[in-house]
Symmetry: C2
Subunit: 262 residues, 2 copies
Amino acid sequence: MKVVIIGTGNVATILGRKILESPHDLVQIAGRTPMHAQKLGHRLNVPFTSPASTISKNADLYIVAISDDALTSVGEWLFLDKKLVVHTAGSVSMNVLESVSKNYGVLYPLQSLNAESVELPEVPFLVDGSSPDDLALINDFASSISSSVQVSTDEARKKLHLAAVIVNNFTNHLYVLAGNYCKQEQLDFNLLLPLIKETANRISYLTATDAQTGPAARNDTTTIKKHLELLKDHPALKKIYEEMTRSITEANSQRSVVRSGS
Amino acid sequence: MKVVIIGTGNVATILGRKILESPHDLVQIAGRTPMHAQKLGHRLNVPFTSPASTISKNADLYIVAISDDALTSVGEWLFLDKKLVVHTAGSVSMNVLESVSKNYGVLYPLQSLNAESVELPEVPFLVDGSSPDDLALINDFASSISSSVQVSTDEARKKLHLAAVIVNNFTNHLYVLAGNYCKQEQLDFNLLLPLIKETANRISYLTATDAQTGPAARNDTTTIKKHLELLKDHPALKKIYEEMTRSITEANSQRSVVRSGS
C-alpha cells in the first residue's frame, strides 16, 4: 500500500519507522507546522508537505496521527473523498472522520510511543472500519506491521485506553513519586530499576493477583505504621501510600470472601 | 566461603540458587518446618536440617532469610557465638542479631524474589555490618554474587524498602485493578502487556518525570471526564483514578512553578 502520514509527533514517527521496515511504501509526511514536517521528512527520508491542500492524492491509506483536540476539527481542513483514512486515537470516536472520506476507520496503537526509542517496541493495534471492506483493509495493514491486532468498537477501544492510562500513566507516576522521595532522602533511585523491570515482567507468567506481595497484602500493620512514620514529611506521597494500602487491603479481603464462599 | 542458609522461602531459595552459581560452598539449609527444609535441600541438592541445635558449626557465613516477625525473636532460638551472621530484611534493624553472634550484619536483596523464577533476576544488595571487618566480608560476599552492592545504614535501608513497596507492590496493584476492570468489561488484559513492559523499560533512558504522559499530565479534562463516566460502576477503581489524577496534576503544577521561577 502507498501510505501518507498526517502528523509529525511520536505516533507519526514510530508508525513511519514501522512502515519503512514493512513492504509498504511511505509516500509522504504532512504536518501543520512546516518545520516539523520537514524534520520528520528528513529523518525518514520521505517527501514532506505542509498545507493540507498539497497532500498527495495518489495513496491507498491516509493515517491521521494528530492530537485528540486537533482530530475533533479534522473535517474542517481535510477532505479525501473516497480514500481510506484512519485515525490513531484511543478515546476519539471513529465517526470524527465521516466528513473526511466515505471510507474510514481506526488504527489505534495500544502502546506508549516515543519518537526517540532506539528499538521499535511491540505494538498491539486495535482496529475498526466504517464498512466490512474498509475494516478488512485496515486489519490486513495492521497485521503487516504487528503480530497483535484486534478488531475493537469505539466503546471497547475507549475502555482499553482507560486501562492503558492505569498501567502506564499511573504506574509511571508512582516511579515519579518514588524518585522524588529518593532525591529528598538522598537515596539512589537507580537501585530500584531491576525491581521495576522484574515487577513488569513477572505478570507475563503470574497473574497480577498472584504476584501481589508486600505489607498491605499480608496485612503487616507494623511495617505500614513504620512507613507512614517515615512519610510524615512527605504529605503527597503519604496520601497515595494510604490510598493504595487501603485499596490493596480491600482487594485482598474481597478475594478471601470469594475463596471462603467457594 | 562456606555458607549456611536458615530459611526456606523465596529469599532463601533464590540466594541458594545464586550461591550455587558462585565460587562459594552452600553447606546446609536449615528450616523450622522439617518438610520445607527437606524440600529446599532436595531442590538445591544440599544437606538440610531442622532443629536449630543441629545447624552446622563449621560455616563462615550464616544467612537468616526468615519473615520479619520470626526475625524479631531470632535471639531466643539461634546462637552462633562469633560466627558471621546476616539477615535479609529491608525493614528490620541490624541489631536484632546482636544476641545471636558477636559478628553480624545485613544482606538485603532489593528485588522481588520468587522461588520459581526460571531466570535469576538481577539483584542489587544493600549491606551493613556490626564492625568494619564484618562489613568488608559481607560486602565482598555480596559483590561475588551481584554486580550492584551498596553499603546502607538501617535508616537508609528502611527508606529504600519503602520506595520498593511503592514501585513494586503499588504498581502491581494497579495491574490487579486494570486486570479486574478488563475482566468485568470483557476486554483482553494481555493486550496491555507490551505497554506494561515498555513503561518499566523506558525509565532506564528517560527520567520518570520526562516519561510522564496521559490525560492528567496534559490537563485533558475532556478525557478525564469520559474516563470517570466509564468508571461509574467501578467505585474502587474510580477512587484510585481520581486520587492518581489529582496527584499527577499536583506534581505537574509544582513542576511548572519551579520552571517559571527558575
